[in-house]
Symmetry: D5
Subunit: 147 residues, 10 copies
Amino acid sequence: MMNKELMTAKILEAKVAKGMTWEAIAESIGMSPVFTTSACLGMNSFTEDKAFALCETLGLDKPVAEALQVCPKKAWEGGVPQDPLIYRLYEIVGVYGDTMKELIHEKFGDGIMSAIDFTMDIEKEENPKGDRVVVTLNGKFLPYKAW
Amino acid sequence: MMNKELMTAKILEAKVAKGMTWEAIAESIGMSPVFTTSACLGMNSFTEDKAFALCETLGLDKPVAEALQVCPKKAWEGGVPQDPLIYRLYEIVGVYGDTMKELIHEKFGDGIMSAIDFTMDIEKEENPKGDRVVVTLNGKFLPYKAW
Amino acid sequence: MMNKELMTAKILEAKVAKGMTWEAIAESIGMSPVFTTSACLGMNSFTEDKAFALCETLGLDKPVAEALQVCPKKAWEGGVPQDPLIYRLYEIVGVYGDTMKELIHEKFGDGIMSAIDFTMDIEKEENPKGDRVVVTLNGKFLPYKAW
Amino acid sequence: MMNKELMTAKILEAKVAKGMTWEAIAESIGMSPVFTTSACLGMNSFTEDKAFALCETLGLDKPVAEALQVCPKKAWEGGVPQDPLIYRLYEIVGVYGDTMKELIHEKFGDGIMSAIDFTMDIEKEENPKGDRVVVTLNGKFLPYKAW
Amino acid sequence: MMNKELMTAKILEAKVAKGMTWEAIAESIGMSPVFTTSACLGMNSFTEDKAFALCETLGLDKPVAEALQVCPKKAWEGGVPQDPLIYRLYEIVGVYGDTMKELIHEKFGDGIMSAIDFTMDIEKEENPKGDRVVVTLNGKFLPYKAW
Amino acid sequence: MMNKELMTAKILEAKVAKGMTWEAIAESIGMSPVFTTSACLGMNSFTEDKAFALCETLGLDKPVAEALQVCPKKAWEGGVPQDPLIYRLYEIVGVYGDTMKELIHEKFGDGIMSAIDFTMDIEKEENPKGDRVVVTLNGKFLPYKAW
Amino acid sequence: MMNKELMTAKILEAKVAKGMTWEAIAESIGMSPVFTTSACLGMNSFTEDKAFALCETLGLDKPVAEALQVCPKKAWEGGVPQDPLIYRLYEIVGVYGDTMKELIHEKFGDGIMSAIDFTMDIEKEENPKGDRVVVTLNGKFLPYKAW
Amino acid sequence: MMNKELMTAKILEAKVAKGMTWEAIAESIGMSPVFTTSACLGMNSFTEDKAFALCETLGLDKPVAEALQVCPKKAWEGGVPQDPLIYRLYEIVGVYGDTMKELIHEKFGDGIMSAIDFTMDIEKEENPKGDRVVVTLNGKFLPYKAW
Amino acid sequence: MMNKELMTAKILEAKVAKGMTWEAIAESIGMSPVFTTSACLGMNSFTEDKAFALCETLGLDKPVAEALQVCPKKAWEGGVPQDPLIYRLYEIVGVYGDTMKELIHEKFGDGIMSAIDFTMDIEKEENPKGDRVVVTLNGKFLPYKAW
Amino acid sequence: MMNKELMTAKILEAKVAKGMTWEAIAESIGMSPVFTTSACLGMNSFTEDKAFALCETLGLDKPVAEALQVCPKKAWEGGVPQDPLIYRLYEIVGVYGDTMKELIHEKFGDGIMSAIDFTMDIEKEENPKGDRVVVTLNGKFLPYKAW
């Protein structure tokens, strides 16, 4: 069975060959750009119909569609990330983690924001002083169960 | 000079005594809840007027106002956080980091989202299936300088 | 405000003085032994009525009851635990983690077992060849949201 | 001699080709799904008869059966796991480790739950609010020997 | 309640004051030197009679005897030890670990040597070329349970 | 020149083909099972005659005999081992390290047990309650030199 | 698509074949030596015209020029560097980090020196007592945004 | 003898009381701001005359002057720094380390830039698009000795 | 009993008060400067006569002499040292470790240089181009025992 | 261009084929055994004439001579070494690091022993009680520059 690394390589190759953006690919299958990209990079799985739709868009065959449906074993470089773009996000979690904890507990009580029942959106905000990246995280609040 | 740990302890004590939320404190000084909380926890600094306004709101004296103006040495537990609320944010950076990199480069070119020229907002989205936490990150895009 | 460490120390002291088991304490407040113990050790929070009930059982005063209601910042020794009882649990996660992933995905699809909407039960199974510890984990299945 | 990695790859390939679940494979050889899966993933060893029974079920030949009987060198990613499903289990050990220690010592005295004389069972509990994963750990209590 | 650190400090102080060796202390209570020392250092627990016997030998009072009976949370410096005497033992595990695995599996099958149902003995072997330390580890073989 | 990994692979292959145990191989060359196994696994070196004797026993040729004589660069997984059999040994060093230090200093004075001028022996002790593994470490005591 | 490792290998090969220094290559494309070298080592990206200019200078073809334009995922050995030249830089950050923080805050207020809107220059200062390396870092000051 | 931590605390207190900048303090003793600050933070030592001059400037007594002359044991948080200002410097070493190695070797041959026979200067460059921090590192080139 | 930290503090205080160098102290008790310093810093132990001789030299009383005789638990900062003087030694071990292994095996066969039956000497070599530090390590060669 | 790993492999192969020791090779090119070995292992670079001389001695061709002249990127296993011969050196740095710091500062003032302007010599000292390894480190003292 095709593994996720090969699947990603084939998708990236086809994406370049077709000259498509992630946004265009996502739109063609009716999914969001963030989820579509993450599934193509092997960090999420597609349902059967979305997997085949993506392969049709990019002219890829069945083994890629099958690999897209496999539940991935998620893994990353671990510990502290190095790429500056990703590190800044890690730094935000470090600097604002306790602040987020205070404010989420203040608004919702004891519990967490789910990283599973969760969506993310990335937008460009045009600004004469320099465009801005706007990232919206939206996760279900899960209260701790007491029993 | 009063250090940041003592400053935070005094603010938390006064906050409980006054029975105020972070939102109410922030509103009273005309700043956002996220920035206000982070400055009170010692991860950001206030200008002189905001520092004194906060102390007036909470009935605290000058050394606290002075400590709030000191440029903090930001530090956190390091590596992989453990508290479940904060860990889920770390996990999101791990799982979606490469996706964010792909999409930000697609929209903006080579560069990063600033964690310094940056704001954050945390809202509650009511939802019959379970309320949701909505976190908005807004950072200036900084293109890599070539020279 | 009383912190969680002092709260735990006062509870342990009273527990020894009263000669009560965790099971008896839990029963007296109508909660499970696991959740009750974890809240007393500072890893979960009680609602107001349970916090005061526990303090009544153990003859403790209001600051303990208040500390029991605070949302805790969960933390542990980190990385690989050392105490043999706890290490064996870590080892089980290491040895059986991929097996659990295979079987949960087989039964439920892509998603996880929640550690938040979660209960645990610990029982003694008498056995002539040596008594056995039976630990039951019960967590809500959370399917990954696609969007 | 065939190593465990190749053995696992051949089993997974045959499992997909036969369209069998782990539960069905386990039933066909009269073993539990958890132990069967763990042996196929290279984390446990089979007796000769079970190894050959599994190969008959999946149409695999003798080298696989031999590899299944080899005492494995157990290893995993180490430290803090990353896959969200496995991390949640690690988090449970972190959050509830001391609680489990208190309650097991209360019921059994000084000792541990064995991770060797140990069984695990994973069940699906249907629930209108969302199905639940029920994991049962059953390990022999081993009292510390004093001498 | 007296904690293990204070208990150990009081025992060491009394041991020096009485001018007794660990061997003599162990003999006076009818236990082995290794187990006795480890309990006094807080890494094992005594039954009530041994705890009181030890306190009688050393002229210590009831809180020490109570602390000796508490199930300890075992912990050490972690990772790679530094003291040369202890490091050499760690090095032996590193250098001979796979050899021990081969030979124990050859003699006993798949399983481990228990570190719980376990005794240790340390002897001096006189030798004209230099005396030798003889350490004997004796642990129950625990076969992996298949189910 | 043949490296140690290939040497070990060739020895293991011949050992299976000949159906010999490590004990039988060791006896055939007049060495102990522990040292013989460790040299074959690449963690010790043989003298020329023992290297050729082993190759004669197993029907291996000269490059293997040469590789067996090379001084090895000893290395292992590092830090905290994971395989349960090896981890239990590591845990024993952690739990009993300070105890061993106390007792060796009590019997011998300041110094260490050598891990170089050192032998190890592994025996099976039959026992109706479960057979036991007996490991004997025998190392020269090395007093710290003062100058 | 050609990856950055292969791109770097091809550039280094051509650089040796042409006998050119980094300074000469940089000058030929009108960029600085530091930026040019870093882009060739895969740590920065070129605009299309610079990428093709560099390939023309070195006689390399289109895939190299394309690879030079890809936004790199920056990564290094991580943690504490080992090569003595690079370690000395790390040591300077360790020894002088707090000093730099004090002086930058004194001159500019709360904020940081950007590592993105940043240039570096390396010069040789001839000196009879031994030539000196002069490294100039020039980064935009980014004040922390308060909101 | 006064230790470096207390020495630094006393200097910082006096600096605030006198309302002096590091630049002014440095100028008053005829040393650079970077070296002066680093010595006051305990990362370098002063000669006797500079130590007494600094104490005169700040109205501090002899024990501080003595502590300023002690050769410091330099230490920092270790590994990867967290404060954003210091992290950016670490990131620059990571991103540009190999580039600096290439260019220094190209200009000087095999060797390093000393971090001991070394000076640093920090300047503010006014710029309408945002002021810039200019850091100049100046270290003696040390060629590797061959023998 | 006095611990090693307090012992070291008392010795350093007396050393400054007496205005003695380590060399002078060592000479007064007829031991080498390296061993004497290391024992005073708590990394080696003295015999009774040397311990009392040192206390006489420095005017210290019996508890210090007793503490000097205790077998120390040796420990240091661990991992990679940071102080530049100590780091350079670590770097030498890293850069030349394999070289030393090659040459010691070439001269002596398989074995190690003892760090226990070991002496060290530090001398100043005057040199018009800059004085040099000469460190001589002298350790007994210990051949690996085969059995 | 030939990389350092291949260069080392070719040199080791030729060294065995010629049956030469490192001492003999070093003597043939007029360099020390330590520096010669370290350059051959890829941790130092040769001048052109020494590189060609070594290749002539060993019958190797031009690419090896070129590789020997490349400035190496020095790297080792990192952190705490494992091979017992190398570990003992690491342990010596740990145990005696602060002692060396005290004595070097006492003799030379504030500064370090260079690891760059540095030589090492390894000798065998015959001794009836067991031969001894004598390692001499000789590094230029570098005083910290104040400015």
